[in-house]
Structures are given as C-alpha cells and as structure tokens.
C-alpha cells in the first residue's frame, strides 16, 4: 500500500515537473541541455579515472574542472537571464552573456595553462 502510494506520488511529481518545465523559454532549455552535457562529460571523465587511474593528475583535474566550471558558469548565466528571477531585472542579457564569455575565457586560459 505504502509502496504504491509512493510510486503514485512519484508519477504525479514527474508529471507536474514535466508540465512545469515545459513552460520554460527555449533559450533556458538550451542552456539546460548545455549544463547537462557538461555534467555528463565530467561524469564520464570521473568514470574513466576510476577505471584507468588518475596518473596525469593535472590532466584529469583540468578536464573535470573544465566541465564542472562550464556547467557552473552556464548555471550562473541561466540564473541571470531568467526573466522570472526578480533579482536581475536591471541586468540586460547582453551584459550577462558578455560576463559569461569573459569568465569562460579566463577559465579555459587557466585550464590550458594547467594541462601541462
């Protein structure tokens, strides 16, 4: 009984999540896919490290942190360009995007340095 109610709840939850998410604007959805892809890449790298070993540790580190950093920055961009977010009303999306690009540039310059 408890189990079935839990699965029902879960189904209802998934349904409402999907319906709620469907209303998000397309540009945010694109960012979401980007974030998911970055996280997915990071997970693959961690899995690879678990199997093969972490020998060139700086390569592993820069690979994973590159993915995580990309994801985090994209999340930040998503927060800033989200129209529903009241905190960033006076921040134009162009400015947010420029900041995002700058931050990414710095991140990947550092990573290129760190790859060794």
């Amino acid at each position: 009984m408890a189990k079935s109610s839990a699965t029902k709840d879960a189904q209802a939850l998934l349904h409402s999540l999907r319906s709620a998410y469907a209303s998000t604007p397309t540009n945010l959805k694109i960012i979401d896919i980007y974030v998911l892809f970055a996280i997915f890449t990071a997970v693959i790298q961690v899995g690879y490290m678990a199997i093969v070993g972490s020998f060139p540790f700086n390569s592993f580190l820069s690979g994973v942190l590159s993915c995580v950093g990309t994801a985090v920055l994209a999340v930040c961009l998503r927060i800033q360009v989200n129209k529903e977010n009241k905190e960033f009303k006076d921040l134009p999306p162009e400015r947010a995007y420029a900041d995002f690009v700058l931050c990414n540039l710095v991140l990947h310059l550092v990573i290129m340095n760190f790859l060794g």
Partner: protein
C-alpha cells in the same frame, strides 16, 4: 532644504558630486598617510631591508630581475641547505617577488633608475596604501562610504599592520593583506551585484592572494563558512550562487597553478571545506529552483521522496570522505594549520614551529598594543552590523569572529584581525557620528527651520578629521529619509522625524562627539608612537640610547661583509637557521640551514652540533663540509635575542631527531643558567664555548649583560676551532674549523680502534675525511 522637490534635486546632486570629489580627496590623503607613516624606519635608520625573511625575498627579487621569469621558476639554489639545495621556484610564494620585480621593471622602462633594493624597501608602504583603499571599498559595500572612509583611515595606521609593513619590511604579508582585503571586497561586491564579471575578478584576486601568502587558506575557509551560514540561516540567493560557485572552481584551478600549492589545492583538508560547501550549494540551488517551479504541495511530496533516498547516499559519501581523510597520518592537515586548530599541537609535536616567537599565542597587552582603541570599538561595530543584518555585514561579522580566534592562537595572525577590527570600528565610529550629528542637525532645525544646514556645517567645521569622514552616510541617510517624508507632508517633518530617529539632546551629542574625537586622537597618537618607536627597528642595525648619547650597533653587516671579503666563494658557513637568509643574501656564502625550515633533520643536525662538545661538533660540521661557524652573542652589549637565549630550542630540535641530546642535561633543576651553577654539559657544549671564548678578557669578570650573571667557565681554550673574526661589539663571532691533519697526527691508531665502537654516523664521517 524644506523647499519644493525640483529645487531639492539640483543641490542634492551637486552635493553628491561634491561629496564624491571630497571622498576621493580624503582617500588620496589616506593613501599618503598610510605610505608616510611607514617611513619612520627609513628616516630614523636608513633605507635597508629588515630582519630575516625579507633578505631572502630581496635575494629572490634580485635573481628575478637579473635572470628573468623563466629562470626564476627553474631556479635551483645551491647556496642554501648545503648539500641538499633548494628548488626556489617551486617552494616559494612568488606573489611578492613578482610584484616587486614588475614594479622595478615598469619603473626602469619609464627611465626611473631605482635600484632593486629601493623598490623592495618601498613595496610594503605602497601596498599598505592600496590596502587602505581596498578597505574603503569593502566597508563601502557593507555600510556605505562614510564607514568606508573611517575604516580606511583606521587601517592606514593600525599598529598591527604597521609592524609588518614598515618601509624595508619586505615580506609576504606586505602585499598579502592588500590581496586579502581586496578578495573579500570583490566577494562582497559579487554578492551584492550578482555579476559574473566581479566573480571573475574575485577569482583573480584570490589567485594573487594564493601567490602571495600561505594565509590564503583563511579565505578559502572563510568564504565557504559564510556561504554555509547564509544557506543555514535561509539567506540563500542566486547571487550567493554566482559569488561562490565560480570562485571555487576558478580559484582552485588558479591556486593549482602556483607551484608551491600545486595539487595541494585539491588534496589537503584545508581546501575540502570549500568543495563540500560547493556541493551543498549546488544541491540547495537545485532545491530552490525546483521549489520555484512546483506547486507547494508537489514540492512536499518531492522532499519526502528525495530525503529518504538522499540520506543514504549522503551517509555513504561522508563515510568515504572520512575514511580517506583519516587514512593520512596528519589527517591531511599541515602542521601550521593544525597548530591553528589545536593551539597546543605545535608545542607538543613540532618544536620548529613552536620555536618561532611569532607562532606563540599573544598576551593581552599585545592586543592593546596592536589594535589599541579598536578593541573597544569592535563590539559597537558588531551591533551596528546587525542593524540591519545583510549578507555583507554577516560576512564581516564572521570575518571578525574567526580572525579573533586565529589571532588568539598565533601572534602573527593578529595581522588578519587588524583589518577586521578596522572595518568594525569604522562602522561603529561612522554610525555613532551619524547619530550624534543627526541629532544636532535636527535640534538646530527644530529651533530654526532654515538654518538647519548652516548649524550643522558649523559643528562640522570644528571637527577635524574623523567627522569629515563620516559626512557622506549621514547626509545620505538623512537626505533619504527627508525625501521620503517630503513626499508625504512638509510642515510636521521635524516633529515626526524627531520621534522617529534616535534623538539625543544637543548638548549630550556635542559632548559625545568631542569624546569620540578624543578617542580618535588617542588612537592616532598611539599609532604614530608605535610606528616611530616600536616597529621601525630594522633589527639588523640596532641602536640604543644611553646617558652618553646614541649608540649604533652595525655588527651584523660588519660580520657579513667580513665573510664576503675574506672567505672563499664556495665556503660553507654554519649558523643557527635564523641567520641563514641573511648570510646568503648579504655575504653570498653557502649556508647549511636557513629560515625556510623545510628540513627538520638538517636543522636538528646543526642543533646537535651546537649542543655537542667541541670534538663531536667538529666532526658533524666537518661532515657537512663547513668551513666557518657563525654565532650571535649579545652578552657584551645586552642584545637579548642571541644564540645563547635561543640555545634551548637548538637542544630541543636537535634532541627531537638525535635522542642522545637530552634537554635535562642542559638544565640545572629545570632552570636554564650559564653561571657557575650550570651543568657541565652546558659549560662544555659548543655554543657556550663559541659564545664565551675570550669573553673574560673584556671586563675581567665575564659578566653577561643579557643573563645578568657572571659566566660559569671563564678561562678555556678551543681545540677544534679558531677564532677568525669578532665584530666591534662582539655581537657576531666567526670561527674557522681547524684543519683536520694537525689534530689527528699521532692519534691515528687510537682513533681507528675507536671508530669501530663509535656510532655509525661518526665512522661514516671519518671515512669521508681525506686526511685520515
């Protein structure tokens, strides 16, 4: 002021512009003050590098300017830690050196031919001016420009910071404090604006901090603590996410770029807190996001589902982490950090950390000496920060609380407390002045509505500096309130605001302002005294005032000059590690140990040699290829920090590695003494002999002015060492090891039979001996 709204706009914007120009002017003055108050050492002594570590930094800077950045990164220094050497590029925090090197390069390319030494001497004062400006920015983000100006003025002359940044004190802290404050400023700025641009700058500032000082771990633990505090108290916002998450990723990568930190940035426990909070923050961010898109009812369902599943995963992760951390012997923490968490750790396990006086816990007077009246203003500042509590002010409070703890553990970290205390006191002073001047202003308005402003102006003209600095916030605050009310109703404005604002009687507030000014004046007087008298001594040139005038003791430079002129370039000089940096920098001779203290065994070897009898010491030194032994002796002129006073630490450190050196052998009934009651081990050890050799010839009695006793053993001869140089005031004495063949001839057979029974170390050294 009580005019219609469009006439108010022009004067107020004009006034704001005027206020901006005014505060810029004050800031410039504060910078000049911060710079010039640190020049006492140059004026009273000369433009020299101070103390010990600065000499090393100076030497590295010289190398950098001469050979360029690539050679600097690859520099293997064979002048120190003989025979091991040291990889300088990979073991030094390069921030300070690179800063000074860049400054020198810029100046030279502008055709301003300053020497490297001059640039090094004036780096610290310059950066303390920057630090004052950074404090202004930080406090402005927290509590408005008035508090900012006050805090900057306080920081410009806080004695604790002066002690580390007088001209010539060319040490990491000189630039690190600026980097610390600036990083905090950018964090707060990001937190307030939520802009990725500032987040990037924040990471870069953090990078500079990592480059400059090991104290960067304070930042990487404090900011996570603040983020966690915000989450726990329900103040999570997307701005917090933007401020924190990119900083951790970028900051970790940037920190890993610094060779001395390297993989430590992800491997040691000091940094784990930031990753943990990063994960928590991401989870919390996701939760808030889901909460935002779901209906409250569905959210509840989701929470119950996730919590039941999530708890199991969390437990597993925590268990793995704990197992990982516990598997390393020191739990992944470095010695210095451990001694911060457990103040008794160092004295128990690491004598080499405990032996440094600046790693000792401070005494109460040193708080008064170093932050003076700020100590009393800080609580008021905390209260002011709670009204109202914002993200920024909670950060400042957290910064203060943690730094108070750290300063209680190590004297050296008083330096971290000083900016926090200045910010708090700045806030306190500024809001106190705000309340008082506002009540004066409204009191005068109550009497005469139109003359309100002039009355206020008159009182302000009397007040010299601190009052000027508080002008902007009070104006702003009162103006804001006024504007709000003017829209509603005009005439009963005074009565209403009088009720609303915390009003004090005019006489009381005038008296209070005067008292506060007196407090400020007291602080200024104390700071100037501290800068001029207490903290400006370069410690390589000493002076003393006596009834027959000023005496200058320049013995250190005399000795190092003698070494550089009279010894061979490749000769090795042994001394206690304190003098290692100076010997390499000033005399350009190879030393056995230096202030870097990275190899405890090596230091213990020198400590053992100093505490052994002459012959054993000669053997140890000879095995290390040492030609000269340098000891610092203050008994003649009363210089207290000499080698005899440091000797017990040599015994302890030596005994920690070589157990045949036992501390009780050197103590008579637990007392350290060098008079006739001293133990025979003490009277026969090398340090005693080298210090007091021929000492009795000076006054016939052998009276030691530091220990205030007559020495125990007055007439003795050295068998294995030759005195080659003693400086004018006997402060530095240099001995040469006697060549081996004179001593061993005729004893060969005996020593051979002995060497079988002798310890393995000794026989090893004998084998190396070419004359044997």
């Amino acid at each position: 002021m009580a005019a219609s709204s469009d006439t108010v706009v022009t004067p107020s914007s004009l006034r704001q512009a005027f206020g901006n120009v005014f505060s810029l002017f004050i800031l410039i003055l504060i910078g000049v003050l911060a710079f010039s108050i640190r020049l006492f050492s140059v004026i009273k002594y000369e433009s020299v590098i101070h103390e010990f570590d600065p000499y090393f930094n100076y030497r590295v800077t010289q190398f950098l300017t001469k050979n360029g950045i690539y050679d600097f990164w690859n520099w293997f220094d064979d002048r120190t830690w003989y025979p091991l050497g040291r990889v300088i590029g990979g073991t030094v925090y390069p921030g300070l050196t690179l800063t000074a090197g860049t400054l020198w390069w810029i100046l030279n390319s502008l055709n301003i031919p300053l020497s490297v030494e001059t640039v090094c001497v004036f780096t610290a004062p310059t950066f303390s001016a920057f630090a004052a400006w950074a404090t202004y920015l930080l406090t402005k983000e927290v509590k408005g420009p008035g508090a900012g100006l006050t805090a900057a003025a306080l920081l410009a002359m806080v004695p604790s910071y002066i002690s580390r940044s007088v001209a010539g004190s060319y040490d990491n802290e000189a630039v690190a404090i600026f980097a610390l404050i600036f990083t905090f400023y950018l964090y707060i700025k990001t937190l307030n604006t939520g802009s990725l641009f500032y987040a990037t700058l924040n990471a870069l500032a953090y990078f500079y901090m990592v480059c400059s000082w090991g104290g960067y771990t304070f930042i990487i633990n404090l900011i996570p603590m603040h983020a966690l505090l915000c989450i726990v108290t329900g103040r999570y916002s997307s701005r917090l996410y933007i401020a924190y998450a990119p900083l951790v990723i970028l900051g970790t990568l940037l920190a890993a770029l610094v060779p001395v930190v390297g993989f430590n940035a992800v491997m040691t426990s000091e940094h784990f807190a930031s990753f943990l909070v990063f994960i928590i923050l991401n989870v919390v961010g996701l939760v808030y996001y889901i909460k935002g898109i779901l209906t409250p009812k569905m959210f509840k369902v989701a929470v119950t589902l996730v919590i039941s599943a999530g708890l199991i995963v969390c437990c597993a992760v925590v268990a793995v982490l704990i197992a990982l951390v516990a598997s390393s012997p020191t739990k992944g923490w470095s010695g210095r950090s451990l001694s911060l968490l457990d103040p008794t750790y160092a004295s128990k396990y690491i004598p080499i950390i405990a032996s440094v006086s600046e790693h000792q816990p401070p005494t109460w007077p040193s708080y008064f000496m170093d932050i003076n009246v700020l100590a009393f203003l800080v609580p008021a500042g905390i209260i002011a920060c709670f009204l109202p509590l914002t993200d920024a002010s909670s950060f400042v409070i957290l910064y203060l609380v943690t730094s108070v703890y750290f300063s209680g553990v190590m004297v050296r970290l008083m330096l971290v407390l000083a900016p926090a205390a200045c910010i708090m006191s700045g806030i306190a002073l500024s809001s106190a002045f705000g309340v008082f001047t506002r009540s004066i202003k409204f009191a005068s308005i109550g009497k005469q509505v139109d003359a309100g402003d002039t009355g206020n102006g008159v009182t302000q003209n009397d007040v010299v500096k601190p009052d000027k600095t508080e002008e902007p916030p009070k104006e702003k605050a009162s103006r804001k309130k006024k504007k709000e009310k003017e829209n509603v109703e005009k005439t009963p404005i005074v009565a209403k605001s009088e009720r609303r604002l915390l009003m004090l009687p005019m006489e009381a507030s005038v008296v209070a302002i005067l008292l506060l000014m007196l407090l400020g004046a007291f602080y200024v007087v104390h700071c100037v005294w501290a800068a001029a008298e207490a903290y400006s001594a370069p410690s390589i040139v000493l002076t003393s005032h006596s009834h027959d005038g000023l005496h200058v003791f320049d013995d250190f430079r005399e000795a190092y000059a003698w070494l550089s002129h009279n010894t061979d370039v490749d000769d090795k000089v042994a001394s206690w590690w304190d003098y290692g940096y100076q010997t390499t920098a000033m005399a350009n001779r190879t030393v056995i140990v230096d202030n870097n203290t990275w190899n405890n065994t090596h230091i213990a070897t020198v400590g053992t040699a100093m505490s052994s009898p002459e012959k054993a010491a000669w053997e140890i030194f000879n095995s290390l290829d040492v030609k000269y032994v340098l000891v610092v002796f203050g008994g003649l002129v009363g210089y207290p920090s000499d080698d005899i006073n440091k000797f017990l630490w040599m015994v302890r450190i030596g005994g920690g590695v070589f157990p045949h050196i036992k501390e009780p052998d050197y103590l008579r009934d637990g007392q350290y003494r060098i008079d006739s009651m001293a133990t025979p081990t003490m009277l026969n050890c090398l340090m005693y002999k080298l210090s007091y050799y021929r000492f009795v010839e000076t006054d016939g009695k052998g009276f030691d002015r530091v220990r205030r006793t007559e020495i125990g053993k007055k007439h003795f001869k050295l068998t294995h060492f030759d005195e080659v140089f003693t400086t004018h005031h006997w402060m530095v004495r240099i001995y040469k090891l006697k060549p081996p063949k004179n001593r061993i001839r005729g004893k060969t057979k005996k020593s051979k039979s002995k060497s079988n029974s002798a310890s393995s170390k000794r026989s090893a050294t004998r084998k190396k001996n070419p004359w044997h």
